[in-house]
Amino acid sequence: MEKFTTIRSTAVPMPMEDIDTDQIIPARFLKATTREGFGENLFRDWRFAPDGTPHADFVLNNPVYGGQILVAGKNFGCGSSREHAAWAIQDAGFRVVVSSFYADIFRGNALNNGLLPVQVSPQFLFNMFSAIEADPKAVFTVDLEKQTIRIDALNLEETFNIDPFRKTCLINGYDDIDYLLSLKSKIENFESSRLEPAIQTL
């Protein structure tokens, strides 16, 4: 997993709420058996007409907007547990998603892939959208170490929460598997010490 440092970047605004993972990456693109290449089909049906012509009014087709930060309305990533959604966002060049509320599974999937889901207050989210509206080249700074996100032009800053373990993992580029593998003997002890009858295998 790529290590996460401070990100200073412009942002892409998607003020819609309840953006579900079927929009982020439609099911018909889930046939790939590797993690790469999903970025091409990120928000496929919002970005392109069925014949492949880009919808000019969709934000990702607008050259005015760009950057490593995706800013979205509340309840981002609801619906299907497909991790392909996190892969697609990352594959398209984003390192941070900002929203005022996340669906649980998406948040976990993002963190497991080094994509940082920053949860801000509804007011701060509104301020971010306003800042981008005023100037699409507005720059934001996300500092994971200090757990802050800043609208540089307005010098407005908010702190965000992140589980300390997840934070360490992101900063060092570790994942949960490294940790779980180190616990193997504890897991085996647990299995043999269970009060319930050991579960019948298949």
Partner: protein, 463 residues
């Protein structure tokens, strides 16, 4: 203590960093779409699967629902399904693939084979894993990185979610089903109303449901954002499990029942949130928008303003996508497609109910009505009971098992702009195909739409 906490506590291997705990997983279900990258991860790390005997695989999401005896024609789908077979062989995982009598939608086969048992922790790389909660299990969907974690260690790092109890008391009106209960609850709480929670469903109306009905309710827990939903096991649960292929047998079963009987929330259990509903208030439900929280009674008009949790912008966007007006009555609205299937409503009970309703009648001209059994066992039972004949004679297209038009990964798609009354669980934009307009409903409401060619209350239409 809550039922949830009893099960959770029994599975904590040890505390981990911060508020995370190492949670032991009893059963891991895998399928072709969310597992290949996880198997590759194991390969890259040079490790094997830790507990293959607690892992079961099936091919369901991306399989055709016709000619399953022949090779899959679509090359990418074939590659993905073949990959699952190769991976299962290489890592020693039991696979109920195409052609196997146990194949089917992962959340249909776990319960019907008795693999799902009270008190277990169960995960799968699929958000509707919550279905298994109907048996009093902690069951939830995970992403592919977590699939790999469970493969590697049979454990997950998890923070304990908050607990919610939803009580539905009283008697359902005739013709109102489990699907209507859950669509009603989600319409009340909104598509994010359960985020951060694990839900226990309780109350006399829930107790009165069959296991099939309970699975339908638990299945859609994720549609209000909850990690999962569960129901305390009782006689209905035990009777369902008795004699199932992988359930404990004979004396072991009686012992298991004694232990399962301790799985309930104590009287003094404290929940972080609690909701109460009256079964009498629930009527057949449909959705009018593009998230499952946008639901209403079949006879109602589309609301004039956004309901629970939706903003004006999402409400307007949803209605525009669906082609509905605020205040419009949907009863009488023509529909072109009907899909009866998915892990929400493709069990034998659902098929029986639909067959009994449509027997001797005909699907309306111009309606494409598809019925896709949840598993080979469901299909076999339906054929043994002659349901397939009744359905086919009525004009339904009776298919072979799989996820099918629930997510439109295979060729079973609804065309752009067409309306589909569907017994599945998601009405997201494009879920059933680009531009498809999905109206979620119970099997009876879907069957009525098929017969009449428009949305209608199946209770009024019955005569």
């Amino acid at each position: 203590m809550t039922l949830f906490d009893k099960i959770w506590n029994a599975h904590v291997v040890c505390p981990a960093e911060g508020n995370l705990e190492v949670l032991y997983i009893d059963r891991h279900f895998i399928h072709e779409v969310t597992s290949p990258q996880a198997f590759d991860g194991l390969r890259q790390r040079g490790i094997s699967l830790f507990r293959p005997a607690q892992t079961v695989a099936t091919a369901d999401h991306n399989v055709p629902t016709r000619h399953q005896d022949q090779p899959i024609t679509e090359p990418l789908s074939r590659f993905q399904v073949d990959k699952l077979t190769q991976n299962c062989n290489a890592f020693g995982v039991e696979l109920y693939g195409l052609g196997h009598p146990y194949q089917g939608i992962v959340h249909v086969i776990g319960p019907e084979l008795g693999i799902t048992q009270p008190g277990m922790t169960i995960v799968c790389g699929d958000s509707h894993t919550s279905t298994h909660g109907a048996f009093g299990t902690i069951a939830f969907g995970i992403g592919t990185s977590q699939v790999e974690q469970v493969m590697a260690s049979q454990c997950l790092l998890q923070a304990r979610p908050k607990r919610m109890r939803i009580n539905v008391e009283g008697n359902l009106q005739p013709g109102v089903t489990a699907k209507d209960i859950i669509l009603y609850i989600i319409a009340k709480l909104g598509a994010a109303g359960g985020t951060g929670y694990f839900v226990e469903y309780a109350g006399s109306a829930i107790r009165a449901l069959s296991m099939e009905g309970r699975m339908t309710v638990c299945n859609m827990s994720i549609e209000m954002g909850a990690r999962g939903g569960l129901i305390a096991p009782d006689e209905t649960t035990f009777e369902y499990l008795r004699g199932r292929t992988f359930a404990p047998q004979g004396e072991n079963f009686e012992e298991a029942v004694a232990q399962w009987s301790t799985l309930y929330s104590d009287e003094d259990a404290v929940f972080d949130a609690e909701h109460h509903y009256r079964a009498e208030d629930i009527a057949p439900m449909i959705t009018y928008g593009t998230n499952p929280g946008m639901g209403m009674r079949v006879g109602d008009a589309v609301p004039l303003a956004p309901a629970a949790g939706d903003s004006l912008a999402s409400f307007e966007k949803a209605l525009q996508y669906m082609g509905f007006q605020p205040g419009e009555k949907l009863s009488g609205k023509p529909i072109q497609y009907v899909f009866i299937g998915s892990c929400t409503n493709a069990r034998i009970d659902d098929l029986r109910e639909v067959a009994a309703y449509v027997k001797g009648r005909k699907v309306a001209p111009g309606v494409n009505a598809m019925i896709v059994p949840g598993s080979q066992q469901v299909a076999a039972a339906a054929i043994a009971e002659g349901l397939d004949k009744i359905l086919t004679e009525a004009g339904f297209d009776f298919r072979e098992p799989g996820c099918s038009a629930c997510l439109g990964m295979n060729e079973d798609k609804v065309p752009a702009g067409a309306y589909c009354v569907s017994t599945s669980n998601r009405n997201f934009e494009g879920r059933q195909g680009p531009g498809a307009r999905t109206i979620l409903a119970s099997p009876l409401t879907a069957a009525a739409a098929a017969l009449y060619g428009h949305i209608t209350d199946h209770r009024q239409s019955a005569n």
